[in-house]
Amino acid sequence: MKKLINAPDAVVREALEGMEHAYGDRLRISYDPAFIVRSDAPVQGKVGIVSGGGSGHEPMHGGFVGMGMLDAACPGEVFTSPTPDQMLEATKAVDGGAGVLHIVKNYTGDVMNFEMAADLAKGEGIEVEAVVTNDDVAVQDSLYTAGRRGVGITVIAEKICGAAAEERKSLAEVAEICRRVNGEGRSMGMALTPCMTPSSGEPSFELGEDEMEIGIGIHGEPGRYREPMAPAAQVVDRLATAVVEDLPYNSGDRVLAMVNGMGGTPLIELFVVYRELHRFLQERGITIERRLVGNYITSLEMAGCSITLLRLDDELTRLWDAPVDTPALRWGA
């Protein structure tokens, strides 16, 4: 296993130390329990926004802590949901009296741990709302299963809710916006290679030299099916068709489009993918009004990409454009 690490079980802690050294001017790091919090937290009168999940998806979530986005992030072990004590302490650290929003990706572990944390925080008198994101169209939705995974829309929801909170919207309002973003967002991903967690040291799945895996998650889970390698245009058609038909996005819709790298794909390829997505949407009369191209929600060194769309309205566009100042997303500040 080839990784720039010292020991598999020290990765998360040591990366946190690295972040502390790099961003100590803007972030505070707690190690036990582990969370990252903007250094001016709690911001009085502002809704606090907390997210978290397994590590290995960097920059999500720690890279999104800062003005205009998250107040705190809880990193679990690699690909493992964090624990309720982390979320509880993070919630307490960011509560400025206006309540705290938990943005939770829909994975059994994340949901259950955040639920326990919310119960504990409420027990301590903090108002908490949780919104669960579930935008991954690769997973069939059903009342009887774990439901769809939360993926790319989470990044966008964190940005937009962060802006709403900076405007001093109430907890109910910020939570409503979060639900709206999730409701108007859809994603799907694919992989050219598996990834390998430091502790397992084995590839998350096996792929032939001429195969790709469609409908991949962000935890190295195998996807829904595999196919022979195809040109980028076909890969995008495949992903974007599933995304567009699901909501559906219709001619005349204005969208925010994210082309996200899974970690091991060169940026030049992501721009080829973005070109194809632009063509695909243009053919359907859907206008890209805002975009994000890069590595935002990754799966360690997995090669591949995901596509996320968010249907925009004027308020969401305004909140997206609002200043943000975090390690991984920064504009207007």
Binding site: T80, S200, E221, P222, R224
Partner: protein, 217 residues
Amino acid sequence: MTEEAATIDHAGVLAWIRRYAAVIEEHRVELVRLDTAIGDGDHGTNMDRGMKKVLEKLDGSEGDDIGATLKAVGMTLVSSVGGAAGPLYGTLFLQMGTATAGSSTLDVGALADALDAGVKGVQARGKAEPGDKTMVDALLPAVAALREAQADGGVGPAAAAERAAAAAEEGMKATIPMEARKGRASYLGPRSVGHQDPGATSSYLLLRSAGEAFATA
């Protein structure tokens, strides 16, 4: 059949927990492999991290309140395992702790009550039904086996736990042909068929550890 005590005491419970920690360490890689096939490959690592924390915790523990010890185990698992298994095994032990609060010994009936309460907690938290390809598929048959042993009468805790382990093993193997409907494996849909559920496996190991620990207790 050698003479067996009708109850296990606090030391027996500690032996069980310690045995489970050792068994999990032994099976860490196997659990990771099972979870890699239909999940994200962390189940063995998560459980091993959690049980090691539990061992640390137990080292300083005093008294003979089985309920308090089981609750401490649950709390430790909740705050160190993470993932789906953390809240689920945490809840299992927390509820077993509640069911045995204040007890310094457990007979087979009390054992059955405790596991029953634990599994009910797991189901309340995770909403899994039998057949969803989860730990519940190993745990429910174990509860039933304990109940049977209790009804049969004259079966000691070690023998009862062995029967429970055998039932859990059956339940674990029965997860192989199932299509997952809960947890991460459910994302695979039909591709989850043909693989043994990692959580059901770690649950079987929990019962097997009980059988082994109680037999020598």
